[in-house]
């Protein structure tokens, strides 16, 4: 995707927000390409909602500029911006019925012939039979769709969604994720989606910006973020990572060689977030599903050239498609491994000595100068 010339992108330039001495959002530059489904992902209080509200005009940035295309809209009141929002818990007007809620924006702009548009919108969100109901007579999922319809009917340049699925139960949430994605593809409007649910962000978005402490930690396509996290926060917040503190032995050649707990591991040089120096430290990471487990008796059969560490299984749990092992190794005290349940090795029970091995290409290196557990608790919270 290249820079659009017609200029429909949302561009945030150096915007920040401070409340007294608290900085909710540090100066931030971000471009959201036109027509994309963009997610702002982070734990609560990371500044993602504030960023969204500044795009909507509901919050005045302390510094910086908001551009819609080439137009500076920073000082434009929300009701003058071609941007609409789907609010957290929807904020449907309780005194108006579904039809009136959806028509609200059109009527405020003085459009008289809104009937047809409202009907089309009701069809799009499949709520035709509920036009006369009041919001409190609808289920959570229906309310959510009214909120989307109420915003979309105005054909905004950008649709902002503030945790739109947060109030729904798991099954409905999955269903609505697909639905929102369908609608976005259908109407082709830029969606900016704020969520704390990494799975939701990865399923729906083309681009994800991971936010933490009022800053963007990393930005990219979901697969890219997952495979190449650049910080421990991203590594831990998106999925699970095994992070091992290691010492750099040599940086010669394409790979960097490190040691930890007596094992030598190789990390591809281009997958290191920081330039490793000999004798320096490096955090070595690998995703649990990339790792294979072999019983210690079979150690000889592990192919040469793979990264290997030894350990002992402390816990295993069967979760249907896979089995999850926690392995205590000298390199890392709670190394997680997910093994597909294809051929189960009956010897792999808690207490068994094992060898963990994986393709060095799946290893990534992070700057050792950061909190190894950043982003861990928040994952549990949102799971």
């Amino acid at each position: 995707m290249t820079q659009k010339t017609e200029g429909g992108d949302v561009r945030l330039s150096g915007i920040s927000k401070t409340y007294g001495s608290f900085t909710a959002v540090h100066p931030l530059d971000l471009t959201i390409p036109q027509g994309s489904f963009f997610a702002l992902l982070g734990a609560s209080g990371c500044g993602k909602t504030t960023t969204l509200r500044m795009i909507a005009g509901l919050e005045d940035p302390s510094t910086g500029t908001v551009f819609l295309g080439d137009k500076d809209v920073t000082d434009l009141q929300p009701y003058k911006r071609p941007v609409n929002t789907v609010f957290q818990s929807y904020a449907l007007f309780p005194h108006l019925n579904v039809c009136e809620n959806i028509a609200f924006g059109l009527r405020r702009r003085g459009i008289k012939s809104f009937k047809k548009q409202v009907d089309d919108m009701l069809d799009l969100v499949q709520l035709g039979a509920f036009a006369g109901r009041k919001p409190h007579q609808l289920s959570g999922g229906q309310q959510q769709r009214v909120a989307v319809a109420r915003a979309l009917i105005n054909h905004p340049q950008v649709l902002l969604l503030d945790e739109p699925l947060g109030a729904l139960d798991l099954k409905l949430r999955r269903q609505m994720q697909l639905e929102l994605k369908r609608i976005q593809t259908e109407v082709g409007i830029t969606f900016v989606h704020v969520t704390h649910d990494q799975e939701e962000a990865m399923t729906m978005a083309d681009q994800v910006a991971v936010m933490n402490g009022g800053r963007v930690e990393q930005l990219g396509a979901p697969a890219d973020l997952y495979e190449n996290p650049k910080t421990t926060f991203v590594a831990n917040f998106l999925g699970t990572s095994n992070l091992i503190e290691a010492e750099v032995v040599e940086t010669a050649g394409e790979d960097t060689v490190v040691t930890c707990g007596g094992s030598k591991l190789r990390v591809p040089g281009e997958r290191c977030a920081s330039q490793p120096r000999s004798g320096g430290k490096l955090l070595v990471g690998v995703r649990p599903e990339k790792v294979s487990v072999a019983h210690a008796d079979d150690a000889g059969s592990v192919a040469i050239g793979r990264n290997k560490i030894t350990g002992r299984i402390v816990a295993s749990s069967f979760i249907g498609v896979s089995t999850q092992y926690i392995v205590d190794s000298p390199a890392c005290s709670d190394f997680e491994v997910y093994v597909q349940n294809i051929e189960r090795d009956a010897r792999l029970v808690p207490g068994a000595e094992v060898v963990l091995h994986w393709n060095p290409a799946h290893t990534f290196g992070l700057d050792a100068d950061q909190d190894i557990d950043a982003g861990v608790e928040t994952v549990e919270e949102s799971a």
Binding site: R11, G14, H26, L28, D29, L30, P61, E217, Q218
Partner: protein, 311 residues
């Protein structure tokens, strides 16, 4: 920003020193404009009069020669000395009426909140509806109800209730009218809705499942009430008792209509000093003393019950 140039991103524009933006002055003044007229009204017609009254209470003089501020605090002492029976009576009557309101009002509020079912709205209407007949008319009706030789007095006489109350000094012989009991009865009646409505509001907020949970945890209905329901209804109890006690302590309508000269409350004294005797300093001093007593009691009460967010 920690990560910049992922492929689809435009390169960050050259960072200029961020210029802080200020919320407009007009916006910041909005709350003051909203508050201004109402607060001004209260300052001029509530707070300022208090100041005038304070100054009046230390004036001396007469209606003919005019009054002057002489810092004559003796007025307060004299007022207390002359009228302490009325003060004591006011507080006693108002306190008794408040207690009775709580005892009578709680079961009704509880019934509306938990037992009334589909009758709830009707009962609520019946609680509020008497408001729409002037309270003076309704108080006069008590003259009929408690009339000498009327059915109520007859029944009380036959059951020898009046013998007990007369012995206690609440009634006199076979009369109820023109006795302390009639006044307290009228006060209780008049301020019951002010007790019931806050009680109902706080009871209604209590989740009925709490009762089931308490029962499930081996609490008898009585214990459930003592340990769960009543503590949770405390905000209602506090605001109900205040809304009853405060107006009752200054009331003189019930004392005048249902009582006798022996049941006069301090409100009557203030009223007659002000409107008939025209002794403004004494009236002002009396009303200041009443205000001080009530405010002191209310403050202590609110502190003790730990509910400060009444407004």
């Amino acid at each position: 920003m920690s990560v910049t140039d992922a492929p689809p991103l435009a390169p960050a524009p050259a960072q200029e020193p961020p210029a802080p933006r200020k919320a407009s002055t007009r916006k910041r003044l909005v709350p003051y404009w909203l508050l201004l007229p109402g607060i001004l009204w209260l300052i001029v017609f509530f707070a300022l009069p208090m100041v005038y009254q304070a100054s009046t209470s230390v004036q001396t003089g007469s209606l003919e020669k005019g009054f002057e501020v002489t810092w004559h605090f003796q007025t307060y002492w004299d007022a207390l000395k002359d009228y302490y029976p009325q003060f004591v009576r006011s507080l006693l009557y108002a306190g008794t009426a408040t207690l009775l309101c709580l005892l009578l009002g709680y079961p009704l509020a509880y019934m509306i909140a938990f037992k009334a079912g589909r009758w709830r709205n009707l009962v609520l209407v019946l609680v509020i509806a008497p408001f729409f007949t002037s309270f003076l008319i309704r108080t006069l009706a008590w003259k009929t109800i408690l009339a000498d030789g009327g059915p109520v007095v007859d029944v009380l006489n036959t059951l020898h209730v009046l013998d007990v109350t007369s012995w206690l000094g609440w009634t006199e012989g076979s009369r109820v009218l023109a006795t302390p009991m009639a006044v307290v009865c009228g006060l209780t009646y008049n301020f019951l809705p002010f007790m019931i409505l806050p009680l109902y509001t706080s009871l209604e907020r209590i989740d009925g499942r709490l009762h089931e949970a308490a029962g499930d945890l081996y609490a008898t209905p009585a214990t459930t009430f003592r340990k769960v329901t009543f503590p949770l209804s405390m905000p209602g109890v506090v605001s109900g008792t205040l809304l009853t006690f405060i107006p009752a302590s200054g009331d003189y309508v019930n004392a005048e209509l249902l009582g006798s000269t022996d049941t006069k409350m301090v409100g009557s004294v203030i009223q007659s000093q002000f409107l008939r005797v025209l002794d403004y300093p004494t009236a002002a001093a009396l009303s200041f003393i009443l205000m001080a007593i009530v405010l002191a009691m209310v403050t202590v009460y609110i502190r003790k019950s730990g509910t400060e967010d009444l407004v």
